[in-house]
């Protein structure tokens, strides 16, 4: 995906949230206020366009915390470049979700 790719507001916010450290679907929902029916399909599209990639948490970690393993999402280099281009286009993105708000995973 080229840097100049056109992103919707939703996709740009999700990329910003991921960059800020909100790395799974429900945390992005909580951060952005977007419903599940918007967030998860948008992440499928971003993953299809290779702007983000997903990885399952190790089962041992989940077992130790007595919860199911979850799927984490991460920006790819192309996703980071696209996010940079989006920040120039939407300067409020960074102020909306600053990086320091990131939660520990």
């Amino acid at each position: 995906m080229a840097e100049t790719a056109k992103l919707s507001h939703t996709a740009a916010i999700i990329l910003q949230a991921l960059d800020a450290g909100f790395v799974y679907g429900f945390s992005i929902m909580e951060m952005t206020g977007l419903p599940s029916g918007t967030v998860y399909p948008a992440m499928r599209r971003l993953e299809r366009d290779e702007l983000i990639r997903s990885q399952w948490e190790r089962q041992a970690i989940a077992d130790a915390e007595q919860r199911p393993a979850r799927k984490y999402y991460k920006l790819t280099p192309a996703g980071k470049a696209t996010l940079e281009a989006s920040r120039k286009r939407y300067p409020l993105l960074e102020r909306l979700i600053p990086s320091e708000e990131a939660k520990p995973v």
């Binding site: 029916g37 919860r67 799927k71």
Partner: protein, 518 residues
Amino acid sequence: MSPLWERLLRPLPRALLSGASIFVPRHERAEWLREWHAELWHVRKACMPEDYFSWAGEQEVLAFCLGAFQDALCLRQYGSQRANNLGASESPELCILCLAVLLSTFLAAALLLPGVRAVQALSTPEFAPGLVLIYDAGANNDEPTISSGQYRAWKRLRQRYFDGFAFYKVTQEAVGREPDSNTSHAQARWQIGRATPNLFRLMRTQVRFQSPAERTESNMPEIILSEALWKREFGADPHVAGRMLRLGIHQAKIVGVAPDGSWGLPGNVGAWLLQSDSDVLPNGLGYVVAHLTPDGEAEMWTQCMRITVYGPNESEDDLLGVSLGAGNPGPWGVFLFTAFLALLTLPATTSVSLGEYAVCSHKPSWSRRLYRWGFLGAKIALLMPIAYLASLDLAYGCTRLDVTTAVYIQLVASFSICLFGLNWALRDQRQRCPVCLRRVVHPAQVGYASRTFLAWNGTELMCMGGHTLLHVPGLPTSWFSTQRWLYLDSSWSFLFPDSGSPIEGKLISAFPHIDLAS
């Protein structure tokens, strides 16, 4: 909230997720469910207090789960897009399936539409061979010209060329649908053919709904409806036999329905009233149908023959005998005629070549070639019944149309469907890879029109399986008049790492020195 409600609501989110997972492509379903179940666990933990039931929390959880449907549908859409990219929509199996569905639809319509069912049952001409209509040579054959006296005289004498005669005359009469209906508003005026009782036996015409047992039991005058009148006045009711009609002061009983499209008898008769000779023949002019003996048939070289009748005072009457049954060929005959006509017309509308270049050194194997021809044959084999049934549905679906109009509609519809169907079958075949029979895609315009006389100009398409390229000339020239297949050998395989899918976004050309335009 009672514990019962709680017990009922608890499994609902998981049930919703399971329901939504139906829309997810099968190979992605397990992972998709795993992710949503994990997320659900965290949503529950965040929204639902542990020590008491919260309606607001349940609502949040349910709203979260409803979003799974949008996610599942989104995945399904991507799945179908990927399938399209792999050429599933261009596969030969899908093409045959679509044609089979179309055929089933028209077949179902033909079985359901009463008009079509009726014509299929009635349309087979059941003429005895050697039937002629006799009329005065100086008159039009639509006019009644034979007197009842002449008919009686011919019937009485032993004839060399004829072994049977039937007579009928046509009158317009008021007919009441109910036996006791004398009021004018309950009556309609029909063209009644008053015929001698042997008319249908002589013609060996199939009369539908006729019950032989009923005929012998009743002494009442019998009426046989024409097909057009049966459809118009009785809505093609299959239980019409046995109903009573009133003709003038007499009553008559409907005993069946006869096909009128294939008769060719003049008079535009709506219903046939079978009466004894004495009732039919008192006076007036009518029509005579005669059956030829073998000697008569031997004399009948054409559709028409001249007959000379010698009268008692050495007078001579010049008559004409016109063969019956050569008129309307019936729906099947119309279809065969139009299919033949479409085959004749086809080369004028499209090239019948399949794009094979004779000089090409590479040829597919015999089995592949057989498969290819089999596919073309299957398409045509499915197209022909589609054309027949669709034209029948169009022509005879509406029971209000008269037979002549229906025949014309069938003629036009059948010819159009046959011609365009065959045209499509050939064009579709030319656009399919000879190896895998998938349609070639991603057209790329090659060259410039101004270079037609110097270089190649046309369109290039490729098989998604990486087997072939198709070159279609933009302007046919003496050296490149029809499309050509270029078979790709193993040196091309680096362009198709996955045999099912080409590299997206790459355009390749068999002529690298020529510019590619997207």
